[in-house]
């Protein structure tokens, strides 16, 4: 597989075309906006948190395949997780796309679809936007986050 195919894996393209958990979330307890001024990617992450766990999550926005697929995959992963587990996933994803060490693809599950991103430094910000926005929402930050 060449690097482009590694970046645009079928899973990524499929989530881009059919994003999961897309739309407004009524009765959200947490929400935050993310913006990547370089490419104009915008998204909003909304959460309903109960008793320290993410009961429901949705996102909406527009942007490139990487940012939209990353957001979609993220929502499927963190739904039903505790806040600590969500934070752990954030760290794991961050290490995957920005790190230089070896990755254990099997242990990563669906996140492995983003393993190709680290070969495209200009696209790392696209991939991490949703995750940074999730973190901002959980920390109840008011200012829109940016990956610039």
């Amino acid at each position: 597989m060449d690097e482009l195919q590694e970046l645009y894996q079928q899973i990524v393209l499929e989530h881009y075309r059919n994003p999961r958990n897309y739309g407004e979330l009524p009765e959200a307890t947490h929400r935050a906006e993310g913006y990547n001024p370089l490419c104009g990617d915008r998204l909003e992450v909304m959460l309903r948190v109960r008793e320290g766990a993410i009961e429901e999550i949705r996102f909406r926005g527009s942007g490139c395949a990487i940012s939209q697929a990353s957001a979609s995959v993220m929502t499927t992963l963190v739904r039903g997780k505790s806040l600590a587990e969500a934070e752990e996933l954030f760290e794991r994803f961050h290490e995957l796309v920005t790190g230089t060490g070896a990755v254990d693809l099997e242990q990563l599950g669906i996140l492995a679809a983003f393993a190709g991103v680290r070969e495209f430094p200009a696209r790392v910000k696209c991939a991490t936007l949703a995750w940074h926005t999730l973190r901002a929402a959980l920390q109840q930050r008011q200012e829109p986050v940016t990956t610039e």
Binding site: G40, C64, A65
Partner: protein, 421 residues
Amino acid sequence: MSTAVHSAQELRELVWQWRQDFPLLQRTVYGKPIVYLDNAATTQKPTAVVAALQHYYTECTSNVHRGVYYLSEQATQLYEEARRTVQRFLGAAEAAEIVFVRGTTEAINLVAHCLGRTRIRPGSEILLTHMEHHSNIVPWQLVAEQTGARLRVLPITPDGELMLEAYPELLTERTAVVAVVHVSNSLGTINPVAELIQTAHERGIPVLVDGAQAVAHMPVDVQQLDCDFYAFSGHKIYGPTGIGVLYAKRRWLEEFPPYQGGGDMIRHVTFERTLYNDVPYKFEAGTPNIAGAIGLKAALEYVQQCGLERIAAHEHELLRYATERLQELPGVRLIGTAQRKAAIISFVIEGVHPHDVGTVLDREGIAIRVGHHCTQPVMEFFGVPATSRVSFGLYNTLEEVDRLVEALWKVIRLFGVGGNG
């Protein structure tokens, strides 16, 4: 300099000769010969420009307008020769009307600042167009905030042309200045600036023309245009970064207060009062970009040697061919389809974000710009967050257009546009 327009075949052979002057075009990226199609952002530099910079730094380094010694006199001479070269290049009446600045942005800031201190008052109107680059919007916004003036905007049509019929009504007794782009960096539209200037002048209103995307692609004569101000950047016309030009009619430079204070712009300084230097030195505070001006001179001479008429004819052929080929592709929509265009093509592909287009093309060795091109109001008008933009320079070839189209097919197959999966 011969400006006779050659046959298509002769032009193509010339272009292959021109390409030899740009060492960067010989390199490869990801193992593929580079196809550089981002000339509206910046252009590659011919060896003549690099040699001029090197000559100054290795043979003549010294400050200008100061030394009584040989080197300084030589540097001063080169710097002032560069000013005269710019004067001739733009057809200005005298060299004193040429102010060296960092680039188009600084030139516009200079004019906005000075008009803000002389002509723009509370209630004044500053007329811009909907297709201005942020650098011809924000400086005026700053001045409007400071003075209590307001911005007015000449609308555009769905083809990306100025809505000319709305223009006369927007010129009122409150209009202090009109600022308009000569060639749109995101749409490629060539605006009828001579007509706009004439109409404004009939009402006594000065006009600034942002020529950043024009001077490298067509002959420009500021006296023929009769513009009050004309701005351009060196790096977009095969020259160095950090050097640019403000042309201003002498009467404005005389009327304007200094833009920045410092050395070289003064005649006599006491703590009570300062007498300013003559134009244009009044506007060139501090040690200028001497090497940049010398490099710019080499770039302008290079372009004139190639011949702007020939460059324009060649780039027009690239525009025609690329427009035709891009329209063969499924899901491609061109943004900016004006009657008169420079060799800039903005487009979107249905269902594919421009950033993804840029990444795929990059791996094919093709450099294009993706994003909002510092023209967010234009993006908003066309209802897109961003576009992909191809912009040609004198060294691009029809074969490179073919490589672009091939790479776009790869994008289309990867993303399954229009059932092509």
